[in-house]
């Protein structure tokens, strides 16, 4: 694969080692601008390590990462700080990833103070209010603290914080796994809206294929540090090729199937 001029991100033969063992092994893929790529696999498969390597949060042992035609891995100093603006992350635990002593407004304004120091106070307040509205929170939320919000609302704040510097790629690492199933859809749909309105590309990491299915254009399946299958959403769910993909699909709990299953639900 050569750089086509359309890629946002191009990863070639990426490897990350922990104590001599490869946690991520020979991973290659591309992402187009505005694309949503699902990354599924179980704990220990290397999906979070891969994400952290892309964001330069963990050292890379082998391979190349090209961001809009420039080498991301050799970036240093000011160049790396500029890049950090383009790649932002949403974490699994929404409450733990927010500073409990900062108001929501302060948390959202901080990326602007760092990346757009020329902005005046008034303009910052305005941008924070716009973002809060975009993620479905009242503008008055800016004066409140993270503990005053539910888990789903905290994740909206986490997404708003990540979106403040107007990134081109949002990496969501199990961003809905710690939420109630009834709320997960709210967050998935919010990400879907952000992608549609702002054309932000999203790398959406999850262990649950039923969730990935609603958001992703393409899905990569990771196992033992390697990508074992990559397919468009339609292909993957209609005709999974790798046995591990099939095992993942079979493990998704399904209330409708349970009604027909010999295991129950039984009659009381």
């Amino acid at each position: 694969m050569s750089f086509s001029g359309e890629s946002l991100l191009e990863v070639q033969g990426l490897g990350v080692d922990f104590e001599g063992r490869a946690a991520v092994d020979d991973v290659s893929f591309e992402m187009a601008p505005g694309e949503v790529l699902g990354l599924v696999g179980e704990s220990g498969s290397g999906k979070s390590t891969l994400a952290r390597a892309l964001l330069r949060l963990t050292p890379v042992a082998r391979g190349t990462v090209t961001w809009r035609g420039t080498d991301l891995l050799s970036c240093r100093g000011a160049a790396l700080r500029r890049r950090r603006r383009d790649l932002q992350m949403v974490f699994q635990n929404p409450l733990a990833s927010l500073d409990p002593r900062m108001t929501v407004g302060e948390t959202l304004a901080e990326p602007l103070e760092i990346f757009e120091p020329q902005l005046g106070r008034q303009a910052r307040v305005q941008r924070v209010a716009e973002m809060l509205e975009r993620v479905g929170l009242a503008p008055a939320s800016a004066g409140r603290y993270p503990h005053e919000f539910s888990g789903g609302q905290c994740q909206r704040i986490g997404i708003a914080r990540a979106m403040m510097p107007q990134p081109q790629l949002l990496v969501c690492d199990e961003a809905v796994s710690s939420l109630d199933v009834s709320i997960q859809g709210q967050i998935v749909n919010l990400l879907s809206d952000l992608r549609r309105d702002l054309e932000t590309a999203i790398l959406f990491i999850s262990h649950n294929l039923a969730v990935v299915r609603h958001l992703s254009d393409r899905v990569m399946v990771m196992y033992g540090g390697r990508i074992v299958e990559t397919a468009t959403r339609e292909e993957l769910f209609a005709a999974p090729l790798h046995p591990y993909t099939r095992a993942l699909l079979a493990a998704v709990p399904d209330p409708a199937a349970a009604l027909q299953s010999p295991h129950g639900p039984g009659e009381a």
């Binding site: 539910s150 299915r213 709990p253 399904d254 295991h263 129950g264 039984g266």
Partner: protein
């Protein structure tokens, strides 16, 4: 208390009119002073787990589902104010002295928590942690207890159990640790195992294995199981009866098959639609419940679900619907229940 009793089997655990409330003192965070508030974690709950039954308690975060069982086991924080009654095999647990409670907890009545890492002692070998349950509760010798521990590890499907007896918790995967926790909960052949979100911290593939293990245990040992979860998809394959909680109250309870195929409460119906499924045709949107559950610090007026309910009327916003019997096995608290 406000509904006709259900025609259920012999109760193992019987909870009547349970209330849990927290009074917080005045304090401050950041620049803001916060007034003391009274939080109703459980407004009023009555339910029973019958002998040999597998019951699921389903609700969102903050619905009070865990609080009900933590209260039953005397595990709530010291500022909790508890009312009502919890009887286990006819014995009242609320207000029971700690020494007496400790004879029941961990032996006849045991609990499996969500996070298997934080519920195991990190510096004690697995085999010792398992054996001490039987030494402590059943007066077994260490040699007998360790034999029992090995037997139990094999029973819950831990491969290479003899070697794992000598392992420390950090040397095991999340799924293995949860198997160890389940083995521990079974060491004294309990009457009832309470499993609080036992698979929420685990991968979907491991989740399926743990649920199948719980199903086998009930079939083989006749242990009652109370499974607490926010995910109806998870409980569907294991529960015989389901109790749905919302904002500190039971809003529907029924045999699982009936509840899943013909929910009467609009909340139950929406929860079923929200369970992520591989068969949902609406690919571009993921089904979800809009809005937030009510603030437990605010007074309760009318039906707590009314602000999120598509069927709500003025009546719902003014008058709380009582939990009413539909038939001898089912109850619903709704002014406008769905047709059966």
């Amino acid at each position: 208390m406000n509904a006709a009793p259900l025609a259920l089997g012999q109760p193992t655990l019987r909870i009547d009119g349970l209330k849990v409330r927290y009074d917080t003192g005045r304090g401050g965070i950041g620049r803001r002073a916060i007034d003391g508030v009274s939080i109703a974690a459980v407004r009023e709950v009555s339910l029973q787990v019958s002998a040999g039954e597998s019951l699921a308690i389903v609700g969102e975060s903050g619905s009070g589902k865990s609080q009900v069982f933590l209260a039953a086991l005397g595990l709530l924080a010291s500022n909790a104010r508890i009312g009502g009654s919890v009887r286990f095999d006819g014995e009242e647990l609320l207000g029971m002295p700690a020494a007496a409670l400790n004879r029941i907890r961990g032996s006849k009545l045991s609990m499996v928590f969500q996070d298997p890492m934080t519920s195991l002692t990190p510096h004690v070998r697995i085999g010792v942690q398992l054996a001490e349950v039987r030494v402590h509760h059943a007066d077994a010798t260490w040699r007998e207890a360790e034999r029992g521990a090995l037997d139990m590890l094999e029973r819950v499907g831990v491969p290479d159990a003899r070697r794992r007896m000598r392992a420390y918790p950090h040397e095991l995967s999340g799924g293995m640790r949860q198997r160890v926790m389940i083995a521990m909960s079974l060491m004294c052949e309990p009457r009832l195992v309470i499993a609080d979100e036992p698979t929420s911290a685990l991968d979907v593939t491991v989740q399926a294995q743990i649920l199948s293990l719980l199903r086998d245990i009930r079939a083989q040992l006749g242990t009652s199981i109370a499974l607490i979860s926010h995910d109806l998809g998870v409980v569907a394959g294991i529960a015989e009866r389901i109790v749905v909680m919302y904002a500190g109250r039971v809003v529907e309870s029924a045999p699982a098959r009936r509840l899943l195929s013909a929910p009467r409460h609009p909340y139950t119906s929406l929860l079923i639609q929200c369970a992520p499924s591989l068969h949902d045709a609406r690919l571009d949107r993921m089904p979800c419940l809009m809005g937030q559950p009510p603030n437990p610090a605010e007074p309760e007026i009318g039906c707590a679900f009314a602000p999120r309910c598509p069927r709500a009327t003025d009546l719902c916003r003014e008058l709380r619907p009582p939990l009413t019997g539909i038939d001898e096995l089912s109850q619903v608290a709704c002014h406008h229940p769905l047709a059966p």
